[in-house]
Symmetry: C2
Subunit: 200 residues, 2 copies
DNA sequence: CGGAAAACAAGCACCCTTGATTCTTTTCTG
DNA sequence: CAGAAAAGAATCAAGGGTGCTTGTTTTCCG
């Protein structure tokens, strides 16, 4: 547990901590959970093992903090992407394409590795469920907003959730091979379908 | 005397091998890739570690065979489910529900763990990509058939692929928590959408 | 035919590597 | 200088691989 908001830590210490978290996420995305050892993370962050040890007593502590960190970054990513969307004709397709991009990006990749690992490691699982619910809700809300639809309308909720699940599936497919070509076609087609479903 | 044990060694060996493969898949689904050690698999299968080592010299060999085995079983599962579908009104929803079921079942779960592990382990990755392409193609074909649509029609290909990706996403969501309630709503809604998309 | 030898299945014990954690020492900075 | 931060060495457990042994089935040759 981190101490409740004391005055900002020493700059050097804070920077080291930050570097460790970034390195963790990068490492997760690139080499997966098992290969993301404390030694690897420390090396990537350019600090010694002992330094990592100082900030995160156990490996679990490191991942706990990394999940928290990723949550923030992912929410920031969603917001920034949502802000730069075109209006008019191609908007829906731009939205779906953006969604597919987010869910094939490095952050989602790292999250995916964590999910699967967490599914069999209880303490981590609980924590991820909690934070993921948060991210999911925000994503859902943002999607409703940019699509300019209301959950009040019957079916809209499920429609939007389904699209999010599809994006997750696309991200999964992209894990093993470069799936971008196939994905483009799906995005185009499903933008049309989505438009119809939401207007009809 | 004592000759009744007509246990052709070949059969016994095959049975052991089979038990090891089944145990591998179960273990993958339940405890994940990292925790599926040869010792665990052997124990589950009710044989000694040495026996496992005899059939599969390395852990990688075990997973190699397990992937092959899973491919067969998954294809059989697809075929059997496809055979028992209702006709008439609720057919599309039954199809989508069936899809969602398959992608939240233990076989998919095991496959999911393997995918993620394979994404960072080259030899395994190559093999899974090859076999997954096969399974994916068969699933796609089966889906076209039970939906009674043709790929010749523009857009149908992408529509069907998208649904498969959504099923994958639903499977992923079900990994960390019991997602069945939310899933039911999505299945219902997306059956409607799919019907419209394929008829329009 | 009969019996040994080869082949095969399975079990058991040990070695070696890896990775996490603990402990001790050095280096900053306030 | 004192205490936090970082580095590095030492310890310990887990897991995979290898070699050896035992028991059983098949083969093959006198």
């Amino acid at each position: 547990m981190a101490e409740p908001l004391r005055a900002p830590q020493q700059d050097r210490s804070r920077a080291t901590r930050q570097k460790l978290l970034e390195a963790s996420v990068e490492s997760l995305a690139q080499v997966g959970y098992a290969a993301t050892t404390v030694a690897v993370v420390a090396a990537r962050a350019g600090v010694s093992r002992g330094a990592a040890q100082h900030h995160f007593p156990t490996r679990a502590d490191l991942f706990e903090a990394a999940v928290e960190y990723m949550t923030e970054v992912r929410l920031a990513e969603i917001r920034s992407h949502a802000a730069s969307l075109p209006v008019g004709a191609g908007r829906t397709e731009a939205i779906v394409a953006m969604l597919a991009d987010v869910y094939t990006g490095p952050l989602f990749r790292a999250a995916l590795h964590l999910w699967v690992a967490a599914s069999t490691e209880e303490p981590l699982r609980r924590q991820i469920v909690r934070l993921e619910a948060h991210v999911g809700r925000q994503a859902h809300r943002a999607l409703l907003e940019v699509l300019d639809v209301s959950e009040k309308t019957p079916g809209v909720r499920e429609t939007v959730q389904g699209i999010l699940d599809m994006a997750r599936g696309l991200g999964l497919a992209d894990l093993l091979t470069d799936d971008s070509k196939r994905r483009r076609g799906i995005v185009r087609q499903w933008s049309k379908i989505l438009d119809q479903a939401l207007s009809g």
